[in-house]
Point group: C2
Chain length 556, copies 2
């Protein structure tokens, strides 16, 4: 079996100029980054303001398991399939973070015959967006410590600086650090930490901004910490939002690439799906909607986290109106949800499947709760038995839900034609708009409880003492009238990663409530949220290599 990088390197890419032409983009609309990548001018969007939008389709999933569901692969495969059916389609994906590439992951740009290319570039530096975000993040951090060192006119409390430094690397040693050691010339020692770049609020801001000036304003509004009186200190107080915007002048432009089948793909922005909202940028999605009849996008993790934030945060802010939702599931993963062991997944096991399908059932109900029509994509594995497939088909038919088998990893767009047809039908049937599940202006706790009850299926919410205080503070400072960005384990509908399937009767424990004031949402942390991953015992980096002819190994 060929590896992803082998398949990717054998593909015949079209010059990105030709991909642009196929979307009606001129030379002036694109800035080339090599032959196969380009940035799309923001003018493309503003010049097409009056044009009707294409149809927006979200791809989401059941709660992820170690078996892997293939959400990105289905997203790419569905786009390729629609293209084969003669529908002008644009795929709108998140940019992968470089850090995890060196850890376990190897790469993240779809897989098999449903990949975006050039995958080695997309997985590494790409067009430099991540680096720009890292730089803007760390310029603000340097400005904070410099301000304190130079006299601290703002009275910043160095014990309450919430802005962390960032690096696009899996580096556990940087999670908790002390900076400013070495004596007076080096400033004041204080506790600090690094996040991986995709967890930075700058990334969330990039993804929610509607223009460079909006981006600058949002960066100015970032709360960097608190002063000695306890009042919030903003980025704009340090006067560096202009320099930060300058650093982001190119990063804000969406990136155009293609799939293995030459379907256009816009890859832009990739915020963490826990501490942030886990969706690609509003600007990229809007641009794609002006260029294609169909736009296929995805959101991080399962529908309880990804789809909820996509709909309640991204679409709300961006005025986006999705027409249908694909929920990706695999038989292997559903059996894990039903209690099967990972080692036994290759055997037919209707019992575990029947127990685990409730996870899919709940995600379907969740999507319906937003007044949207879900289509289930059952991503087929060689080990799936006919009985198991028949069981799921029957289960879904009983609920009036369409299902399509997909084989996009092995067959590319050809393996997603049935799904594509069903998605077209679902989108055609959609009338009116989807509905958010809570009002931004509702009290903070009410918004949190709505998500927990309606989406997670929990009984209620318990607040840690610290969280109670933080909620009071946010209300006092008038920083509470924003959507909620839940930071919860992706593995369970609850806040306990061990409760698979469709848990009931649980309470969600909120440990911390923070404002991402620039991004414009309140982050609500449940459980331990990791914002800086580590490397495993044998990092993927150890097998990566490049030879003198440019052949690459170890990206997969």
């Amino acid at each position: 079996m060929k590896s992803d990088i082998q398949i990717a390197q054998e593909c015949r890419m079209l010059p990105i100029r030709d991909i642009g032409s196929s979307l009606g983009l001129s030379e002036d609309d694109l800035e080339y980054y090599g032959k196969y990548k380009a940035k799309i001018s923001l003018d493309v969007l503003s010049e097409r303001e009056g044009r009707e939008d294409g149809k927006l389709i979200l791809v989401t999933a059941i709660n992820p398991t170690p078996a892997g569901e293939g959400k990105s692969t289905v997203t790419v495969g569905l786009g390729q399939a629609l293209n084969r059916l003669g529908k002008k389609t644009v795929i709108a994906l998140r940019e992968p973070s470089m850090g995890p590439v060196f850890g376990v992951k190897g790469g993240a740009a779809g897989g098999g015959y449903s990949q975006v290319v050039p995958m080695e570039d997309i997985n590494l530096h790409f067009t430099g967006d991540m680096h720009a975000i890292t730089s803007a993040n760390n310029l603000l951090a340097a400005a904070i410590d410099n301000h304190v060192h130079q006299g601290n006119a703002l009275g910043i409390d160095i014990r309450k600086i919430t802005w962390k430094r960032a690096m696009d690397m899996n580096d556990r040693a940087l999670r908790d650090v002390v900076v400013g050691l070495g004596g007076k010339p080096n400033g004041y020692p204080r506790e600090d930490g690094f996040m991986i770049t995709v967890a930075s609020e700058i990334m969330a801001i990039l993804c929610l901004s509607t223009s460079l000036m909006d981006l600058k304003d949002r960066m100015g509004r970032i709360v960097i910490g608190y002063d000695l009186k306890g009042d919030p200190v903003y980025c704009r107080d340090l006067k560096v939002e202009g320099a930060m915007a300058l650093l982001m002048k190119d990063a804000i432009k969406p990136n155009l690439v293609q799939t293995l089948e030459n379907t256009p793909a816009i890859i832009h922005g990739g915020p963490f799906a826990n501490i942030a909202h886990g969706c690609n940028s509003i600007l990229a999605t809007r641009t794609a909607l002006k260029l294609g009849e169909y736009v296929i996008t995805e959101a991080g993790f399962g529908a309880d986290l990804g789809a909820e934030k996509f709909l309640d945060i991204k679409c709300r802010f961006g005025g986006l109106k999705p027409k249908a939702v694909v929920i990706v599931a695999t038989i292997r993963a559903l059996k894990l949800h039903g209690g099967a062991k990972k080692a036994d997944l290759s055997h037919a096991d209707l019992d575990s499947l029947a127990k685990g399908i409730v996870n899919l059932e709940k995600q379907i109900e969740n999507i319906q709760g937003f007044r949207l029509t879900p289509v289930v994509a059952l991503n087929r594995f060689a080990t799936d038995s006919e009985e198991e497939i028949a069981f799921i088909k029957e289960f879904l038919a009983g609920k009036g839900i369409e299902m399509a088998l997909t084989e996009v990893w092995e067959k590319g767009g050809e393996g997603g034609l049935d799904l594509a047809r069903k998605v077209i039908e679902a989108a055609d049937r959609m009338e009116g708009d989807y509905e958010v599940i809570y009002d931004t202006d509702s009290p903070l706790k009410e918004k949190i409880e709505t998500i927990v009850r309606k989406i997670y299926g929990g009984n209620g919410v318990a607040y840690a003492a610290a969280a109670e205080k933080q909620i009071q503070d946010l209300e006092k400072f008038g920083l509470d009238r924003k959507p909620i960005c839940m930071a919860k384990t992706q593995y369970s509908l609850s806040d306990n990663p061990k409760l698979l399937g469709r848990p009931e009767g649980f309470e969600v424990k909120v440990n911390e409530v923070r404002v991402s004031n620039g991004a414009g949402f309140i982050v609500c942390l449940t459980g331990d949220i990791m914002t800086m991953p580590g490397l495993p015992k044998v990092p993927a980096a150890e097998v990566m290599d490049i030879d003198e002819s440019g052949n690459i190994v170890g990206l997969f």
Copy 2:
């Protein structure tokens, strides 16, 4: 008076494709990064192996002073002037570090009407080379801490890890840090620090490599620290040099831009001129030599540091044979060397000038010591008096040294025509090759003393106890047969920044001797060497801004 960014933004740039064509480069030879930047394929060099090289001209300077000498501006202006004289000329410059742009500096790409453009890109992310170096540097750092965390099979002594993390930011708080805090999941706490990216050995390696495979081998040879037995541990022991090379696959390719007068400029690599050798990359210079009749390059700081390392390290490693050397001086700076105060520089002061000109005299002798012909470029200021200019002219005439007045800041290439003519003559007169001043295989102390006596004019060298021990260790491990990279203050010929002019009778104190085994040189530290700058009281970042039309302010 217009600011540099104003002048730069008013210039009519040619599409970089046209600049490439003027050098005989095809579409396939270039990878575009937007419309005005491109990476040059390494094949361009290998395909032209048999072709005769152009003439290499080095631009260096007297010891720098707060008055500023304009070395980069003269370099760009000279290139433009040669071009005006019908000589096909390529300028080969270092890439500016982004960090200092936000501090005092504002920008570093020449000035006035002798700039390289697009200056806002060159000064910020450019084509991402700095970010690639930062990533490769920090991947190695993460691999080290991960190795220790995962069981430390190599027995790395965490008290003796010499590899530091890097960031392209002026951030004093990161000079001395403790990482790995927070308990067992975060690894072992240890002292660490960040360098600014240009001070990373990866940058020096990039600049001294002759191919991607050479780069990979050199990265593998990096000494990252010592094990518990006291033996060196190498990057290759951690098996990440392949992944690091993958990260550098594009960064190794030289970048093509242009000057305000559309003269081609290759800007690639910018190692710190103290901890490293301060020259642009060998690959860029070699490529330029295959494309132009004349190649103008520069080296960091004054001739005692920059030219010496250019000749003894870069040209030695790269087999480069410079044909002439320009020494940039200003009357204002020479008066400072003669004891004048900065506030008085606008008044004629023959006395201070006569006292300070000895600095120029010594730098001339130094260049002659390498068997090269210096031409003095007197970079003219409005405040220079005729008497002062006449004095210098006479002084140099007495030594048989050519001098040219330059007004390249105000007039572009037009202001450098006289210099260009004299450089052409000097290069034509050059017979045979220059000579290095020491043999790589000589004992370490002998090499250091040769530099101190011949170039700095000192009496001898004193070694700190630590340095003695380090020299013994390097000899023991067989790591000593390499050129010396002196890390010394740039302000004086001695190691005391206060001794201006041409100090005599001094001893140089060597505090530390380190091997940059990947780069292939021994760093010899005298005095305090800063590898991470800080931001000033009012950082340049505070005045930088960009508006909705893309107009930029604050880069100068």
